[in-house]
Amino acid sequence: LLFLPIVVNTWPWPQATEAAWDKLISSSSVLDAVETGCTQCEIDQCGGSVGFGGSPDENGETTLDAMIMDGGNMNIGAVGCVRGIKNAIGVARRVLENTEHTLLVGNLAKDFAVEMGFKEESLSTNHSQQMYNDWRKSNCQPNYRSNVTPNPKTSCGPYKPMRSHVQAEQNSRANLNINQSNHD
């Protein structure tokens, strides 16, 4: 117990850790600490992989996923593919606190967030738009589509499914450049 209380997070983003720690000490709430720490990363756009203005999808849009879990009662609040709301972990906390559900997704999660008082605003930035433009110029590479036509390894969409395909015997993920700035 000499090690408690404690805050730990993935990746070298100590500003998030410090924000969570300060909240834990001041509020004694582990949920508040996690929400505050993750919110700090959303504000700081940690590594480009958290918050607005990062990881544009095939259409150039940034969407956010978040989850918060209470280890005392196994209650969970989560949101997936949320559009237009910067504070995804805050919305997840509202799912935990203000619903009997676990996971809300997409446009309807955004509607829930707005109902809960969150501001709707664009998640795109000049940086994310440039990432999208660069991806289009490089023939939409890397690309997560498979068994579609035209060939997703060389061409942009729109895509249609191939009528048949050979099932790979072993799972092999293409080199998709998953690293500190591109990951879940």
């Binding site: 408690l4 582990v30 996690v34 956010l64």
Partner: protein
């Protein structure tokens, strides 16, 4: 993704994640971060675990849940993480990912695969200001 675990002096555990996912994903795609047991898991009687990396793969194995269950049976945080990663690597040898776990007593473990190294942050009364640790994958 940022994955975060917080434990207070009474052993109350919370965990969370937040991410914008992978670059150039198919619209509508959701990764492991909002999936219970994948992106994170917490249990006051055991501790907490968080994951980061290739979410499409991780969400098929629920590694955070597996780590908590291994720790429940007395396995150390680091060993529990290595077991969870090895289970994924059996099916996806080129998988990229990392996990961090904290026991209910505050013991921290981490392991990774596919990256050259992985960094994580720890803040406690013994680590002030925040310490950034690195593990080789």
């Amino acid at each position: 993704t940022v994955g975060m675990i917080s434990i207070d002096e009474n052993g109350h555990v919370a965990a969370g994640t937040s991410t914008n996912g992978l670059n150039h994903k198919v619209p509508g795609r959701v990764g492991d971060s909002p999936i219970p047991g994948a992106g994170c898991y917490a249990d006051n009687t055991v501790g907490g675990a968080v994951a980061t990396g290739d979410g499409d793969v991780m969400m098929r194995f629920l590694p955070s849940f597996q780590v908590i269950e291994s720790m429940r049976h007395g396995v150390s945080p680091t060993q529990a993480i290595e077991d969870a990663l090895n289970r994924i690597l059996k099916y996806y040898p080129t998988f990229n990912g990392a996990l961090v776990a904290v026991s209910k007593d505050g013991y921290v473990g981490a392991a990774c695969t596919g990256f050259s190294s992985f960094h994580y942050c720890v803040r406690s009364h013994s680590h002030q200001p925040t310490a950034v640790f690195s593990v080789k994958c």
